[in-house]
């Protein structure tokens, strides 16, 4: 017992050299397919290690290699270099084709997050089907965010770390063109002048052919 406390105390003061810490982070990240946060790594490393610093060294070491250390939100993971994808045709995962509605909804969630369903519908100008949202939730590309503090307290949607991982994004801030879109005011939620919404929320798909019948 006293031996272990002594050891722990010693390790509190003497962390392994940074080169060794780098090796450890390398081993841990190589072993997992999922991105790991600095906190996850710290929990696995001996006391006194600086996971963030080790990560910085490791990232530099793998620059230009066939495998790269990439940032995914708050987490880190090794991924093969994108230019070598053609060698991996056997590993390629057959992806379910996403509908245009699903792709657009995903983009809207990513660029406008946190966003409510009503806002998605306003931007697309059409009702969002339950299946579309369900498909994106199932892929773990979007998830529920906080409720909006407005009447009805609607749920919001945000993109996930899995989404960032899939599209090789460090964070949602790195979405292509997001800065320009924001500057152009295209990510603002701008209500229709005058309080009432004229475009009917009621997306009745029932044929109103009788209006055309002469």
């Amino acid at each position: 017992m006293s031996d272990t406390t002594e050891l722990q105390e010693k390790s509190l003061f003497e962390a392994p050299p940074i080169a060794e810490q780098e090796r450890m982070v390398e081993a841990i990240l190589f072993a997992t397919a999922e991105p790991m946060t600095v906190a996850d790594l710290s929990a696995r490393l001996p006391h006194g290690c600086d996971a963030a610093e080790a990560l910085a060294y490791l990232r530099r070491r793998y620059e230009g290699r066939g495998v790269q250390l990439v940032r995914v939100g708050d987490a880190w993971a090794f991924r093969t270099a994108p230019d070598l994808g053609h060698l991996m045709h056997k590993e390629t995962v057959e992806q379910k084709k996403l509908s245009r509605a699903a792709i657009e909804t995903l983009a809207i969630v990513a660029y406008h997050q946190p966003v409510t369903r009503a806002e998605i519908e306003e931007i697309r100008g059409v009702a969002v089907s339950r299946g579309t949202i369900d498909q994106l939730l199932e892929l773990d590309w979007i998830r529920f965010g906080r409720r909006r503090m407005t009447p009805g307290r609607p749920v919001t949607f945000v993109v996930t770390e899995t989404f960032l991982d899939h599209f090789g994004l460090e964070s949602a801030r790195d979405l292509p063109g997001i800065k320009e879109l924001r500057q152009a005011g295209l990510l603002d939620s701008r209500p229709l002048p005058g309080a009432d919404k004229t475009d009917d929320e009621d997306e009745a798909t029932t044929g109103q052919s009788e209006l055309f019948e002469d």
């Binding site: 072993a31 997992t32 991924r79 697309r124 899939h166 599209f167 002048p193 005058g194 997306e203 109103q208």
Partner: protein, 264 residues
């Protein structure tokens, strides 16, 4: 309802040229994702930046489309018609001089908002395309193929208190040679007895310990005895606390009562 017959009849009504033009525009209403999508498609025929689009012209194009659909007896969903009605209203507002008594947004504000909506939808379409054109995991880059699982080791930490140890020893010592502790009145444990007992025990309790741990062995099986012994010990610890010998605490109502030696 747009049946085959309707199509045939419309073909006979309209000259071929007009029908082709209409088809080029309409193609398939189901192909549009709502009126806004249709408006966006129509606006492209203006061949200008969406910011400089003529909403008036766009409204006319849309209303023309709806009229053609009507002539072709194509079934349009309600939202297309709602949009048509709104655009007709907007068109008249844009053409007429502004009514000073009219409150609410001006026609220009409404037109600007529509242009904004179109620009925003277009921007999101482009963003979606750029997003999908990115390198994707499982297609362009890959994660670890042979992840090594983390082995979970469950380490069990055993604990025992001094009281456990003493009680265990007493249990052994009372087994054979000693008569187990039994009161003359079988099911009653008096406060005096508890007090005497606790005075002896308390000096070994430097740390917070549940009062329940102090109850004598063999008194917890019979409910009557358990009640008596619990009440007696509770009263006894209150006495001891009053005398300043111990400290008492309880997390919340009905939570276990814990005691420890004062000054520990």
């Amino acid at each position: 309802m747009a049946s085959d017959d309707d199509w045939d009849s419309s073909e006979t009504v309209l000259p071929v040229e007009a029908r082709l033009a209409a088809e080029a525009l309409i193609v398939d209403v189901d192909g549009f994702e709502g009126p806004l999508d249709l408006l966006l498609t129509l606006s492209r025929t203006q061949k200008v930046d969406l910011r400089r689009i003529s909403v008036l012209q766009l409204a006319e194009q849309y209303l023309g489309f709806v009229n053609q659909a009507k002539a072709l007896r194509i079934e349009l969903a309600a939202d297309y018609l709602v949009m048509a009605a709104w655009l007709a209203y907007l068109k008249s507002r844009l053409l007429l001089p502004p009514d000073p008594s009219d409150e609410g947004p001006s026609a220009e504000e409404l037109a600007a908002h529509l242009a904004f909506q179109l620009e925003r939808l277009e921007a999101m379409r482009e963003a979606a395309a750029r997003l999908m054109a990115r390198d994707q995991k499982g297609r362009d880059f890959f994660g670890r193929g042979i992840p090594e699982d983390v082995t979970r080791i469950r380490r069990i930490k055993y604990s025992a208190t001094l009281l456990d140890l003493m009680q265990a020893y007493a249990r052994i010592r009372t087994k054979d040679e000693f008569r187990p502790f039994v009161m003359d009145r079988d099911h009653v444990f008096t406060m005096e007895q508890a007090l005497e007992r606790m005075r002896g025990l308390i000096s070994y309790s430097g740390i917070w310990t549940d009062l329940a741990a102090y109850l004598p062995p063999g008194w917890d099986t019979n409910p009557m005895r358990r009640r008596s012994v619990t009440a007696a010990h509770f009263a006894a610890v209150l006495e001891l606390a009053k005398a300043g010998q111990i400290e008492l605490r309880q997390g919340e109502t009905f939570a276990p009562i814990q005691i420890r030696k004062r000054g520990a």
